[in-house]
């Protein structure tokens, strides 16, 4: 069985995400735009799994952000769910490229405390590495599927 790999659509996120995975000993990591467009992944074997995880993470983030605003007047900072064997941690990352969503999955080799600790360092590294926003880099609804497929193909080596 080959070791899980890290792949990024945008080169500047690769080093911070690799560092986070090494430090926090997580199983899966995913960085995406709030629209659901993937930026980088670690540990996923299939493009369809990345696509599903991105769609779900974007939806969960949208719901929890709105719930936070309703309850506290501001979005929740992070979301943790503990399953029987695996746990997820989902949080926002602010960069000069705008707000991004980070999803990670870990088991008993790591812990929520370690994930939160290294997530803080990951945020700082990502913010420091982020280039200036690209002019008009928005993904238009009519281009969404094409952009999504292009990014997934890039991550899984079909370009």
């Amino acid at each position: 069985m080959s070791a899980p790999t890290t792949a990024a659509v945008e080169r500047w996120v690769e080093a911070p995400i690799k560092q986070f995975v090494d430090d926090a000993r997580v199983l899966l990591a995913l960085l995406l735009y709030p629209s659901g467009q993937v930026i980088a992944q670690h540990g996923f074997a299939r493009a369809v799994d990345v696509m599903s995880a991105c769609a779900l993470a974007a939806a969960i983030n949208a719901s929890s952000t709105e719930l936070g605003k309703q309850l506290e007047g501001k979005p929740f900072r992070g979301l943790h769910h503990a399953g029987r064997a695996r746990q997820i941690y989902l949080a926002d990352v602010s960069t000069s490229r705008g707000s991004l969503i980070f999803l990670t999955v870990f088991d008993s080799d790591s812990s929520l405390g370690l994930v939160q600790l290294y997530f803080g360092e990951f945020q700082q590294r990502l913010a420091a590495a982020a280039p200036a926003p690209a002019p008009d880099a928005r993904v238009l609804p009519q281009n969404f599927e094409g952009e999504l497929n292009r990014n997934l193909a890039q991550l899984f080596g079909r370009i």
Binding site: S111, L112, G113, L114, Q116, L117
Partner: protein, 116 residues
Amino acid sequence: MSSPFSEMLASLIRQRGVLGSMVVSESDGIIIDSNLQIGVRGQAVAALAASLFRKARLSARAAGLGEAAFLQLEAPNGRVCAAGRDDLVLVTVAESRANVGLIRVEMLKAMGALTL
């Protein structure tokens, strides 16, 4: 706000050279209660020390040595001590000049109160 551990943590922080003391969840690495001097990075120490204690406990068990009860980590500028049971870890951060024997006794004594 006081917790069932406040008194125990207060008695540990009174020891000479102790910089902080925390009760941490072993599986989560999250602080349950703490008494820390300013400058101690509680959350970072808690997450790392709980992970270290868990791995030490599992190593001791794998080696057939039984349950690890006490862990002491020495560094150039001080020590981290950890003792645990029932998914709770008592972590103490101390300067080099601290009397580690006394801290160990106090921590093992405090283990009696270490239950949820």
